[in-house]
Every structure is written in structure tokens, then in C-alpha cells.
């Protein structure tokens, strides 16, 4: 069974005109969000995106933007409490984000 999280929240954007279809984003995405077709890449499953930022970071022409962050409630709470950016300090249990 495929794990699904909330719909229509991912901040993933693809700038079509910049993309030259190298396929790097499709290679790094752990949730098969992209599909490469005719020397272009297309977002196939936006709701599958977990905003890890791998695609944006590895696109050589910066054709992808995504607000990368840790999908971790504990980190968010600590962020709210301390007024800082949520970051996973790996002390809140679990094997971290």
C-alpha cells in the first residue's frame, strides 16, 4: 500500500522553460514525483512530494523550486517554542526526520 499524506500542500514548482530534461531530478526523488518525457520532465505526482529538496538542489539549471524543510511535528513545535527555524536536532525520538 502506498503511503499518502495530505493533498495539495506541497510547495513544489517546475519552471518548464528552463528544464532541458537531464533527468537528474527524477533520479534523486525518493517518491517518484517526476517523469521524463520527450527531453522534458513533468510533475506526475505532486501530492507524493515530501519537500526534501533533493530535486531543486541537484537541478543544474535551477528549474525547480521547493520550500524544503523537515516534515517533523516535534521540530515544528521546538521551532514555535524557541522562535527559530524548525530543524531536526535528532533528540526528539525516532531516527530523526
Amino acid at each position: 500500500m502506498k503511503d499518502r499524506y495530505l493533498r495539495n500542500v506541497a510547495t513544489l514548482r517546475l519552471l518548464d522553460e528552463k528544464c532541458f530534461g537531464c533527468g537528474r531530478c527524477a533520479e534523486v526523488c525518493p517518491h517518484r514525483v517526476f517523469i521524463v518525457e520527450d527531453k522534458k520532465v513533468r510533475i506526475k505526482d505532486k501530492d507524493g512530494c515530501m519537500e526534501c529538496g533533493a530535486c531543486a538542489k541537484n537541478c543544474p539549471v535551477n528549474a525547480i523550486t521547493v520550500k524544503a524543510g523537515v516534515g517533523c511535528a516535534y521540530a515544528v513545535i521546538m521551532g514555535w517554542l524557541t522562535g527559530s527555524e524548525p530543524s531536526c536536532d535528532c533528540s526528539g525520538g525516532g531516527e530523526c526526520c
Binding site: R4, V28, H31, R32, G53, V76, G92, C97
Partner: protein, 362 residues
């Protein structure tokens, strides 16, 4: 002549004094060393010893988790030469063990980055498994003198931290992202660096989820002890004292949120983690109250109180499991929390008040 002998007579002795990667001689997983133009490189075993297994078990239960690391640097596996592939990984011992135990029979180099003892996925998110660390580790180990090719195999889950094209620009090494699971590395190497879609997709199996739950459980123990302390103090003045039934009700809600919900995650209806935890928490609490016969006027206050507070507790704990999951996004977690946190807080406060009223006034 004599003097020279004492220093340099075994052919490689002087040579061997330069260590590419310092390591502890007592570590069982180091089986020897291999000599390169840059100095000696430790050779590692693909066998997992009892010590390794015990170490992993301790870490799973949250003991010494932050200090389970190995020295960063270059290691050799089998008898690698200048044409052998280079695999990059993190210096978390658990990650390292998981990798090397899948590589028996292979000849390769393993470049370990200093991720402060954190796994690849998390370290990539923080940026410690990152471009700068990789570039500097390549320079420090003299990797380009040890291998004649220009390809590095990185774990795909390291990609959020590494800008592949920047690594190439700064070092000349090109980056290939390997499969997600160490288990697939052999077939990846054998097929000439081809990963199937399957190898590239993160999974989150029942087992993956279950191994994470002990740490969650241990993390809640501290708070639970405080709760028991409060129970105890209230008992001193209460008309209805807290007893075994209350303890079981509470412990059940904790286990529901930290173990049962994560284990059953995909088959619980709904998407938000807090919702899933709340649903199971409600089932547990209602079942337990019914079992205890508290659905009677005399205990109604207590029953409603527990129905408000315990499912909220499970919901909260389940929500924290988003940090361990492999598919929750930041925006999603924020969306979920904006709704769940106020509800959990209100429901808990109301529930605690009712339970207290019942305890103090019955």
C-alpha cells in the same frame, strides 16, 4: 645503516606510518590495511559481530544514540585497486554496518563523511552530508591519487544535501546516485550503475516503522514519570484515588500513540497522523472504559474526562511520529498541526479538569 633499519626495514613500515584514516586498532570490523600512494587505508570486514548487533540494539532503545560513530575518511573493502568504485556514506555506525554487511565479495572504496554520527537521510537534511564536506573529504584523503576514475556513488537519500554538479565543478568527480537500500547496491554495481524505479523509491514497511517505536516509547517515559508523580500527589488529597485501572488506561493510550498507530499507519483511515492516533486512542479509551463498567452515571464525569484527554494524548504522540516517517512534507505537517494542536490542547484541558473534579469531589 642500523638506524635506518630500525625505522624502515619492513618494506612498507615508513610508508604505513601515514594513515589516510585513523582508526581504533581494537575495532573488530577492521581486518587489516591496504597500502596506497597516500598512505595506509583500513580494510573493513563485511561480517557483523555480536558487538555490532548489541550496539545496534542499544541504539534502537535510545542508549548512547548520539555517540555511535566511526572516524570519517577512506576505507577499503575486499582488495580494491585504482579502478574500483567509490561508495560514499555517513559516519553513523548503524548506517556503516548496514552498508558493509551487504557488500561481501565486492572490491570497493568507501568514503565516509563526517555527519556527526547521524544517518545519511537526516544529515543530508541538515547539510552535514553535504557538498562542502564531500569536497573536503575528497581532498583530505587524496582520493584522486588513489583511484584513476572520476565517479562517486552516493546514496540517493544523500541528495537533499549535495549539489552534484557543484561537486563535479570543484573536484572533477561526477556523482551517481545509487539505490536507496544498501541491499540493492550489489545489483546496482553489477548492472553498471543502473537503478530500477523500485530501487529509487522510499518504502516504509511495518518493520521499518516498528524498529523506530522503542525510541519513541523511551522518549515518553520521562513525561510519563511526571504524570505518575502528579497522580501520586493528587492521591494524597483525592476522594477517588488513581489506581491500576487509571494506570492501564494511560499506558494504553501512550502505547497506542507510539507503537500501535505507527505499526498500523497505512491501514488506519485518513491521512493526518494526529487523526489516525486520535481514532485509535478513542477506540482504546472507549473499549477500556466499557470494560471497566465506567459508563454509568456515577463514573460519567471520569469517563468523559478520559475520552477527552486520552485520545488527544495518542493523537499528539502519533503526530510526533511524522518526524520518523519517510513521506511527510513540511507544509503538510504545518497544515496538520495548525488544526490538531489547538484541538488537542482544548480537549486535554477539558478532560483533565473533568478527571480532577471527579477525583477531588466524588
Amino acid at each position: 645503516m642500523n638506524k635506518e633499519k630500525s625505522c624502515c626495514s619492513p618494506v612498507n613500515a615508513c610508508y604505513a606510518e601515514v594513515l589516510v584514516t585513523p582508526h581504533n586498532q581494537k575495532d573488530e570490523w577492521v581486518t587489516g590495511e591496504i597500502h596506497t600512494s597516500q598512505g595506509s587505508v583500513p580494510v573493513i570486514s563485511t561480517d557483523i559481530s555480536f558487538e555490532d548487533t548489541f550496539g545496534a540494539w542499544k541504539v534502537r532503545w535510545g542508549i548512547g544514540r548520539m555517540n555511535y560513530r566511526i572516524n570519517p575518511g577512506l576505507y577499503a573493502l575486499g582488495q580494491p585497486d585504482h579502478k574500483s568504485p567509490v561508495l560514499v556514506s555517513a559516519n553513523y555506525k548503524l548506517t556503516f554496518d548496514a552498508l558493509r554487511k551487504e557488500l561481501s565479495g565486492l572490491h570497493c572504496w568507501i568514503l565516509i563523511l563526517d555527519t556527526k554520527g547521524i544517518n545519511v537521510w537526516c544529515a543530508a537534511g541538515k547539510g552535514t552530508f553535504g557538498t562542502d564536506e564531500l569536497v573536503s573529504r575528497i581532498t583530505k584523503t587524496g582520493l584522486s591519487e588513489i583511484v584513476s576514475h572520476k565517479t562517486l556513488v552516493l546514496p540517493q537519500l544523500g541528495a537533499p544535501g549535495v549539489r552534484a554538479h557543484e561537486v563535479t565543478r570543484r573536484t572533477g568527480f561526477s556523482v551517481v546516485y545509487g539505490p536507496i537500500r544498501a541491499h540493492d547496491i550489489k545489483s546496482f554495481l553489477d548492472s553498471g550503475f543502473k537503478a530500477t524505479q523500485e530501487m529509487r523509491t522510499v518504502k516504509f514497511t511495518v518493520w521499518d516503522r516498528l524498529v523506530l517505536t522503542p525510541v519513541e516509547l523511551v522518549a515518553t517515559t520521562k513525561y510519563s514519570l511526571m504524570v505518575f508523580g502528579v497522580f501520586f500527589i493528587i492521591n494524597l488529597i483525592a476522594a477517588r484515588t488513581f489506581g491500576l485501572a487509571d494506570f492501564i488506561a494511560y499506558a494504553g493510550a501512550v502505547v497506542t500513540g507510539t507503537v500501535v498507530t505507527p505499526a498500523l499507519l497505512p491501514i488506519i483511515p485518513g491521512r493526518a497522523f494526529a487523526w489516525k492516533g486520535w481514532l485509535l486512542g478513542l477506540l482504546w479509551t472507549a473499549g477500556f472504559i466499557w470494560f471497566n463498567g465506567w459508563f454509568v452515571p456515577e463514573f460519567l464525569l471520569l469517563a468523559i474526562g478520559y475520552l477527552l484527554v486520552l485520545p488527544s494524548l495518542s493523537a499528539f504522540l502519533a503526530m510526533n511520529f511524522t518526524g520518523s516517517s519517510t513521506y511527510t512534507s513540511f507544509s503538510g505537517v504545518i497544515r496538520e498541526m495548525k488544526i490538531a494542536v489547538p484541538l488537542i490542547a482544548l480537549s486535554s484541558i477539558a478532560g483533565i479538569l473533568l478527571v480532577l473534579i471527579k477525583s477531588l469531589s466524588a
